[in-house]
Symmetry: C2
Subunit: 313 residues, 2 copies
DNA sequence: TGGGGTCATAACCTGGACTTATGGCCGATG
DNA sequence: CATCGGCCATAAGTCCAGGTTATGACCCCA
């Protein structure tokens, strides 16, 4: 007890308590197809392999997942709950895969994309999954960097399409707004601001010490600009280097923070963090697709844009 | 080509293209601790094992992830992008684990929870992760069912705490509102409703064929009640059995649908689906914690409630 | 010039996941 | 009613990924 670690960590790592991706994928296939054998065939393995894998998963979880019968297998109640959780893991893995595939950056890729970190991190994987479904043979490569780097790559024709955050298109590039990124004021559910009736006043926000990214970061710049009329942001409560650290600090109740809605969608849905409404300040920037001025995205670039934008007018 | 499957599936399953959970966990540990050896120690493996695993992952992804130096390892640019994607996979796996642990339902569990399907599926895993961090030795068991089943279990003292959706507490139970579940009108980004300027009128919503759950489902009941003043819901465009099927149909552009905000948080954040504002109709139900009337949650039940509610007044 | 930290390489071991081959069960069909 | 064709389970054998120990190279610092 004297030398217990500061944060208690489970003795066995996560990987030993959670079935591997193959097993989860198999479970989803069984749920969808209603038979171990068909699921096995879809994944390119044999029926006994599938049977044994599902059985191993049931042993690991200590719960029966599927009801076997001589004419197929259906999920048990517990099984369908587990399957829904499994689906979220698999979807995250698909996003990982889509991003990683692009990151591999083979020279012969037919579509080279350059994107800002935030877009590359949160948005691009989903787009690439959709693109892959629509055009399975389109290979994409990805280069991530700040806005200037993205603009440079597109101008130098090292990328066919770029994605940046910003209110205006960089010099020499045409652009289309494909969405918006709002900065949200975020607090832990226990924080007084989480219980407010009305929206927060911009003046009050400016006067309150917040948990923020370091100066020079994109979100910090937008916040500084937005609050300039009210005297600028107060001395920060904490300055942290990563979005993740920011969220962790906010969840643990260190104080309110400000960050992109893209980064906290999940936490808001799970109610680990709550949004605080603010009025009188504009904390919004456009998300833009950019390409060399005078040209018009064609081929795979156009495919990707139309997927993102619904239809590019 | 003649016998190509209807939907093109990748030749190799996802599990062969994505590192397994152990490797992702290891990568996160390296990112956090700044050294392969320390990360290895934290996961209870040896340093050569960690070295080889990271190397294998780099080979698989075709990208250098960490910069090795004689005094530690830092992530490369690509590495930090990959790490962020990995973090989302690991978080989904943690939620899976939290849910699965509870589902195992050991008899000696100190806290027995009964929850509606929607809450069990989307909210409970996150709560259990938080509870586990705060009280590592609290064992939880979970039983999922509809509102009546949950109420029955709590009344019969087969569960210490229940969670249901509904505007009022079931007979014989005391309750606290712990949140709200809005039904959202959802459309694919390409749908005309996604481009509307103003909010949709309730009359218009009632008159439009939608993709819906089958009659009798919780969300369907709320929708029926909300739209009753406007003549009730129109004949559905499609009736599907699962939330997942609903989302898939909406994403593929079959039409607008209505479902719980809990179920579409991720799709909204990724902009695969967009929310359509509606006015003049109340599509909101309370999320309630329930316990036997006259008693007061104590011990682990109280811990869980205060985590959820910030503080239980 | 050791001593502590880093990481890499080599040789070996083991368990889990795959394979093929087989058998039992059920329902539909002639 | 017999048979066929789907389903699943079991058994025996192969193979490799990931683990181990042992060792060496590198760098920094006292």
């Amino acid at each position: 007890m004297a030398d217990a670690p500061f944060v208690a960590r489970p003795a066995t790592p996560l990987a030993h308590r959670v079935p591997d991706l193959g097993a989860l994928e198999l479970l989803l296939a069984v749920a969808r197809l209603g038979s171990l054998g068909r699921a096995a065939r879809e994944l390119g393995i044999t029926q006994p392999a599938a049977s044994s894998r599902i059985r191993a998963m049931e042993r690991l979880l200590g719960v029966a997942l599927v009801d076997r019968s001589p004419r197929g297998s259906r999920l048990t109640d517990a099984g369908s709950l587990v399957t829904d959780w499994a689906r979220r893991v698999v979807e995250a893995a698909e996003a990982f895969d889509a991003g990683a595939q692009a990151l591999r950056g083979r020279r012969d890729s037919r579509l080279r994309v350059a994107a800002s970190m935030t877009i590359a991190e949160y948005l691009l994987p989903g787009w690439l999954i959709a693109l892959h479904r629509a055009r399975p043979d389109t290979a994409v490569s990805l280069q991530a960097g700040n806005s200037a780097a993205v603009a440079g790559r597109v101008l130098a024709h090292q990328a066919d399409l770029g994605f940046v955050e910003g209110s205006e298109a960089p010099e020499g590039l045409d652009s289309a707004v494909i969405g918006h990124d709002r900065l949200l004021v975020i607090a832990a559910p226990g924080h007084p601001w989480a219980r407010r009736r009305g929206p927060l006043d911009a003046r009050e926000l400016a006067a309150t010490p917040l948990i923020l990214r370091e100066p020079g970061s994109g979100t910090r710049q937008v916040l500084d600009a937005g609050l300039a009329p009210y005297g600028g942001v107060a001395e920060p409560l904490l300055e942290l280097a990563s979005t993740t650290a920011l969220k962790a600090a906010a969840v643990s109740g260190a104080g309110p923070c400000v960050l992109s809605e893209l980064a906290v969608g999940e936490e808001l849905a799970a109610r680990r963090l709550v949004r605080v409404a603010v009025e009188g300040v504009r904390l919004r920037r456009d998300l833009r697709a950019v390409w060399p001025a005078g040209t018009r995205p064609a081929g795979p670039a156009r495919d990707l844009l139309s997927l993102i934008h619904g239809a590019l007018d």
